[in-house]
């Protein structure tokens, strides 16, 4: 059943009725998502809403309690391990930390998936790696070790690695967190440009509203396991949901209260005096 009236061929990732529980805690409660081909889709929500978990569910690293995740019309959680690995060769993922292999240098990190999955001659691997590094502006940094990179550079190397096998989609886990304004701008621009130039589909999980809105074609806002808002950036700005307004405009108090639930303040203070 397609609730959003998209043409099914345009949908790359099709999530229906997804529920996921960790221990007693409900992370996702029956959510539906559509990630459109060729578009940049941003999943927003406060910290701790399980946005990274969603990416791991799409990538098949976690299993949902209920519901289905289809990527390119393939049900991810019905696949055998080897078929899942075949599918993952077409999906890139950029981890929050970059997750570069720390014992090899930048060049070898980008070459890693190429060497693992193809039998290309080393001269060709070299050219491929240099092209990917050039795309993220780090061709000159190929000899550096991951420990010598700044956070933003590490993410760009990881991005070069993620596009090494020319995937159909890339999932970004909090790509803007902890970046200075310049590397933030670089990353925003890179994600946007790569998406268009390589014909990718991008899924970005982020709570950086301004940066993410700048490149998003479509935004889902998730809170407490539910999709509480969705639409283009403009539609969300105009949303009449108090929750979405609080999140988008970064207001400290609103439907998400500033205070952790507690007893009455005055009573609490006087309780010490009365004892």
């Amino acid at each position: 059943m397609n609730t959003d009236n998209h043409n099914m061929d345009d949908v790359l990732v099709h999530v229906r009725g997804l529920s996921f529980q960790r221990g007693e805690r409900m992370i996702f409660d029956d959510i539906d998502l559509d990630i459109m081909r060729g578009k940049v889709t941003v999943i927003m929500g406060p910290s701790g809403t399980g946005k990274t978990t969603l990416l791991k569910l799409i990538g098949g690293q976690l299993r949902p309690n209920q519901g289905t995740v289809e990527v390119d019309n393939i049900n991810v959680h019905r696949l055998s391990r080897s078929d899942l690995f075949e599918l993952r060769k077409r999906m890139g993922m950029l981890f929050q930390t970059g997750a570069l292999l720390t014992d090899i240098n930048v060049f070898d990190n980008v070459a890693f998936p190429i060497r693992e999955h193809t039998q290309l001659p080393e001269a060709l691997v070299r050219d491929l790696v240099l092209m990917k590094l050039e795309a993220v502006g780090l061709r000159g940094a190929r000899e550096l070790m991951p420990s010598e990179l700044s956070g933003g550079m590490a993410r760009r190397v990881a991005l070069a690695r993620a596009i090494a096998l020319d995937p159909m989609m890339i999932m970004y886990d909090e790509p803007f967190t902890g970046q200075d304004p310049i590397s933030m701008g670089v990353l925003v621009q890179l994600i946007d440009k790569l998406n268009d130039a390589l014909g990718l589909t991008s899924v970005i999980v982020s709570h950086d509203v301004v940066e993410a809105s700048a490149i998003a074609d479509f935004i889902y806002v998730i809170s407490n396991g539910k999709v509480v808002g969705k639409g283009t950036p403009e539609e969300l700005q105009a949303s009449d949901s108090a929750w979405v307004q609080q999140f988008i405009n970064a207001q400290p108090d609103g439907p998400v209260p500033f205070h952790y639930p507690a007893t009455d303040y005055l009573e609490d203070l006087l309780a010490g005096v009365n004892e």
């Binding site: 791991k56 990538g59 690293q61 690995f85 075949e86 993952r88 060769k89 999906m91 890139g92 993922m93 981890f95 929050q96 930390t97 997750a99 570069l100 292999l101 720390t102 890693f112 998936p113 693992e116 999955h117 990881a158 690695r161």
Partner: protein, 257 residues
């Protein structure tokens, strides 16, 4: 009743972990076939696991042999049989001290570094990252390290025993005046390859298997925090040492049967 449910819980946790450990081993062994065409990965790991452990093994072997020479001489000289010093030193090393001491030192030197390396790779999402690149970390990262440990430990035990005999020779013959020819000829006569040396080799092969398994499983199963990695590293040394000493008793009992 509280203590009973507590006992039940820790019992369940223990067996759950044991099960995970066995599954882990199964998949590592299953994934080992992919190593056949990639000897370089194995060689790299044998260097960091085996070759880099050689210094501590050699030095420890030398000292243990020297102590054996000194102690043995003091006991044997009372019975006028100090010519048997070589046999005593060689048999103690080849059958017991070589395999056991090497395994314990191996756990401390190489096992901890394997656990910490794998644990940190898990903590920094490198293992997840590999999985998302469709590379199985059990095949690519764990299997070469497992076989490197498995192959290296018996070789290191051999080096330990050999160096130890020279340590005993240095003290006994060099310092205390035991007859040179008697020292070696008694070893040649009384140390049997099948009964003595082979048993020691079997022990060190078993220990190599266990030490590599424990170290890698602890790393792979670590709670991905800095505290988790530190606990896992400690557990590697404790569990390996206990397992080696326990297995040593079982194997010795079987071999003397």
């Amino acid at each position: 009743m509280e203590w009973l449910s507590q006992l039940g819980r820790s019992g369940l946790r223990f067996f759950e972990r044991l099960g995970r450990g066995n599954l882990f081993l199964f998949y590592v062994l299953l994934g080992s076939f992919s190593l056949l065409g990639r000897g370089r990965l194995l060689l790299q790991q044998m260097y960091s696991v085996g070759v880099l452990s050689m210094l501590i093994i050699t030095v420890a072997g030398l000292f243990v042999g020297m102590v054996l020479g000194l102690q043995g001489y003091n006991t044997l000289v009372d019975f006028g049989s100090e010519e048997s010093l070589g046999v005593m030193v060689a048999l103690s090393l080849v059958q017991e001290l070589g395999p056991v001491m090497t395994a314990v030192l191996f756990a401390a030197r190489a096992g901890t570094s394997l656990t910490a390396e794998i644990g940190l790779m898990k903590t920094t999402e490198q293992l997840s990252g590999m999985e998302m690149m469709a590379v199985d970390p059990l095949r690519r990262v764990i299997a070469p390290r497992f076989w490197a440990g498995f192959i290296s430990l018996p070789l290191l035990a051999g080096i330990f025993s050999a160096v130890g005999v020279f340590g005993g020779y240095f003290v006994g013959v060099g310092l205390l005046g035991v007859d040179d020819g008697a020292f070696w000829s008694q070893i040649q006569n009384r140390v049997d390859f099948y009964d003595d040396v082979l048993n020691g080799i079997i022990k060190s092969i078993v220990f190599g298997f266990v030490a590599a398994w424990i170290a890698l499983f602890e790393g792979y199963d670590t709670v991905p925090t800095s505290e988790g990695v530190s606990r896992a590293t400690t557990r590697t040394v404790v569990h390996t040492s206990l397992a080696v000493l326990g297995l040593d008793f079982v194997l010795t009992a079987l071999m003397f049967d």
